[in-house]
Amino acid sequence: MLLSTHSQTVDDNYVLVASLDNVRNLSNILKAITFKDHAIFNATPNGLKVTVEDSKCLQANAFIQAEIFQEFTIKEDSVGFQINLTVLLDCLTIFGGSTVAGVTTALRMCYNGYGYPLTLFLEEGGVVTVCKINTQEPEEPIDFEFCSTNVTNKVILQSESLKEAFSELDMTSEVLQITMSPSQPYFRLSTFGNSGNAHYDYPKDSDMMELFQCSKTQTNRYRMSLLKPSTKALALSCKVSVRTDSRGFLSLQYLVRNDDGQICFVEYYCCPDEEAEEEY
C-alpha cells in the first residue's frame, strides 16, 4: 500500500513497472544464476528474462512470467538493460531475507528507460527502502542456436536423484562427461579426478526418469567449472530436463516452484569441451 501511493504521481515516466508481494519470488530465482556480476535484463509483455554468461561458453537464463508479478506493466515491446546482479541481489535481500511466517518483503521495481537507473522500492513491516542501481547498455546475449529440431537426446529427471549425484561429483575432475544412449548405460555422468574415475548411471526405467528420449549414443564433455553454478538451480528445482543436440551442446532446463507454488524456469546452455575427445 505504502509503495503504490508513493509512486503514483510518477508512474507515467516508467517504461517498466513490476511489483511483487514477496520479493523472494524474484530473488531466489536470481540466486540460481548468480555466477557472474553482470546480468542482462530483458522484459517483454510475457515477463522478465535475466541472462548471465560466462566466457562465451555458458549461458544461464531465468524466466519469470508476467503472471508471477502482482503488477507487470510494460510500455514497450522490449525493454533491456544490463545491471550488476550482485548489487541487485544485495538490494533485493536488504531486509535480510527472513523466512518468518507471514512476513514478506514487498517489491516495486521501476525503470524509466534507456540511461535511467533501475529503482527498487522494498517494504517490510512499514519500513521502506529505496534503491537506485545504475544500468548499462545491454549486450546481446549469445544465441547458442539450440533448437528443438536439432535435439538428439532428451531426458527429464526428478531433481532429487541428480542433486545427490552432483553433490558427490569429484571436483578434482576438470570435466563432467555426459553420456546419453538408447542402450546401456542410458544416462551417465562421469568424472575423471586425481585418484580415478567415477560414473553415475541412471537406467531408463528408473522411477526417477520421467522422460527418456534418446535416439543416438552421444558422449560429451563439459568443463566442470562451467557447470558447477548450475547446481544452485538444481537445488531449487523439482525437475530437470537434459538435452543435447547434434553438436554436443548441452541444455539444462530446471523447473522451479517459488514460495507460492508458481512455476518458473531456469535454463543453462553449455558448449562441449573440445580439448580431449577420447572415451573412457
Partner: protein, 382 residues
C-alpha cells in the same frame, strides 16, 4: 578380490572405514582367505586398528591368489570416504555394494547399487603394499573386561572431549577410570575426574593382576562409536603398563581389534617427574615404531629430555609373526604433524626407523634402511 556387501552391512562397512580414517590417514585393504581385513595405524605407531570381515559378512566373497594388499593413500582414502558419505542415509539409499580389487591393473572398484536404479561406480588406482599387521596376543592378557558399549560410552562421557589420555585401573572388584594428568604443576590445578565401576557392571570381569594402564582416549572413543552402532559388547584385554591394550568387538562375521599403546610403568606413577618434553620440536621419525617387535631400539641422539620414556618391546608371539613394516613412512617433519597427535611416548613395539619418503612411493621393497643417527629413538632405561 571380488565381494558384494548387501543391505545393512554396507553401513557397517562404511562405519568401519570412517573409524579407520580416524586412526590414520591411510587405509590398508587386505583380502585374505579368512576374510577382508581393513587396517590402519597412526603416524606415531601407537594405535593400530583392524577390522576383519569374515566371508559370511558378504553375500559373495571371492579371493584370488596371489593375495594382493593395497594401501589407500590419504587422497584415495578421501575418495573412498566420499563414496560412503552420508552415513545416515546409506542404508536407505544403497542396496548393494560391489568391491573389486584387480591386482594386475592396480584397480579398486566400488559399485554401489542404489535406489531408483541409480548405480554409482568408482574406479580407483591403488598402490600395492606389504601387509600391515601388528603383533599382539589378546588371549595371553591377564586382565579381560567385557561390557556393553553403552557402559563405556557413558563412562567416557564424563571426560572432556579434549582429554588426551585416560587411565584404567583394575583391582579386586572395581574398575577405575581416571583422566591422566602428567606434569606436576598441572596436577595441582587440574580437575581430576575418577569414575568407579563395580565388576558386576561388566559382562565379563577377569582380573589376573591388579594393574593400571594409561592410553589414548581418542582411539577408545573411535572404537566406541563403532561398537555402539552395532550394539556389540566391547572387550578390553590388557596386562601391565607398557604392554598394549587390545579393545575388541566381535561377532560371527566381524572381528574388530584396536591395539593401543600404553604408558610404560615408570610414567604411570602419580608422582613421576614431569617428562618436560617439548613435542613441537621433536623429530617425528624418532617416534616411528616398526611392527617388528623383535628389535629393541638402539641409542639415539634424540633430545635428552625424553630420557624417561622407555620403549617396551612386546614379546613376539609365534602365531602372529609380524610382517615388516609397510613402505610408506611419510612423516617429513613436525610441521606436517597435526597438533592433536601430541600424545607422547606411547609405544607398543620397538622402533625401527625407516627411510622417510613421501606418500607417492610405489615401491614395494621392504628394505629397512640403516637408520641415520637422527632417526633412532631414545632408549635409555630409567
Amino acid at each position: 578380490m571380488d565381494c558384494v556387501v548387501t543391505g545393512g552391512n554396507v553401513k557397517v562397512l562404511a562405519k568401519a572405514i570412517h573409524s579407520l580414517s580416524r586412526i590414520g590417514d591411510e587405509l590398508y585393504l587386505e583380502p585374505e582367505d579368512d576374510g577382508l581385513a581393513l587396517r590402519s595405524v597412526n603416524s606415531s605407531r601407537s594405535a593400530y586398528a583392524c577390522f576383519l570381515f569374515s566371508p559370511l559378512f558378504f553375500s559373495r566373497y571371492v579371493v584370488c591368489i596371489p593375495l594382493v594388499s593395497c594401501v589407500l593413500t590419504p587422497v584415495l582414502l578421501q575418495c573412498v570416504q566420499a563414496v560412503f558419505r552420508s552415513l545416515s542415509s546409506l542404508d536407505k539409499t544403497v542396496e548393494k555394494c560391489h568391491i573389486e580389487l584387480v591386482g594386475e591393473k592396480s584397480r579398486l572398484t566400488f559399485t554401489l547399487h542404489c535406489k531408483h536404479g541409480l548405480m554409482k561406480t568408482h574406479n580407483l588406482s591403488f598402490q600395492d603394499s606389504e601387509s600391515l599387521q601388528a603383533v599382539f596376543d589378546k588371549d595371553s592378557c591377564s586382565n579381560v573386561l567385557r561390557a556393553q558399549p553403552r557402559l563405556l560410552v557413558d563412562t567416557v562421557l564424563h571426560f572432556p572431549p579434549a582429554l588426551e589420555e585416560v587411565s584404567l585401573s583394575v583391582s579386586g572388584e572395581r574398575v577405575l577410570f581416571r583422566n591422566y594428568v602428567e606434569e606436576e604443576p598441572e596436577r595441582a590445578k587440574a580437575m581430576l575426574t575418577e569414575l568407579s565401576l563395580s565388576s558386576d557392571e561388566f559382562e565379563h570381569f577377569a582380573v589376573g593382576a591388579e594393574s593400571s594402564i594409561t592410553f589414548c582416549l581418542k582411539e577408545l572413543r573411535g572404537l566406541l562409536v563403532f561398537a555402539e552402532s552395532t550394539g556389540l559388547p566391547v572387550s578390553v584385554h590388557f596386562d601391565l603398563p607398557g604392554s598394549p591394550v587390545v579393545l575388541s568387538v566381535t561377532d560371527s562375521v566381524l572381528e574388530v581389534n584396536f591395539v593401543l599403546a600404553t604408558l610404560s610403568d615408570d610414567l604411570n606413577l602419580p608422582r613421576s617427574p614431569p617428562p618436560a618434553d617439548d613435542f613441537l620440536n621433536d623429530d617425528i621419525d624418532s617416534y616411528l615404531i616398526a611392527m617388528d617387535t623383535s628389535e629393541l631400539p638402539g641409542p639415539s641422539n634424540a633430545p635428552a629430555q625424553r630420557s624417561n620414556h622407555r620403549l617396551e618391546a612386546q614379546s613376539p608371539v609365534a602365531n602372529h609373526r609380524l610382517e615388516s613394516e609397510e613402505a610408506e613412512e611419510e612423516e617429513t617433519g613436525d610441521t606436517e604433524r597435526p597438533p592433536n597427535k601430541k600424545f607422547r611416548s606411547l609405544f607398543f613395539g620397538s622402533v625401527c626407523p625407516t627411510d622417510s619418503q613421501l606418500t607417492n612411493q610405489t615401491a614395494t621393497s621392504q628394505e629397512v634402511l640403516a637408520s641415520d643417527s637422527e632417526d633412532d629413538a631414545q632408549a635409555a632405561s630409567p
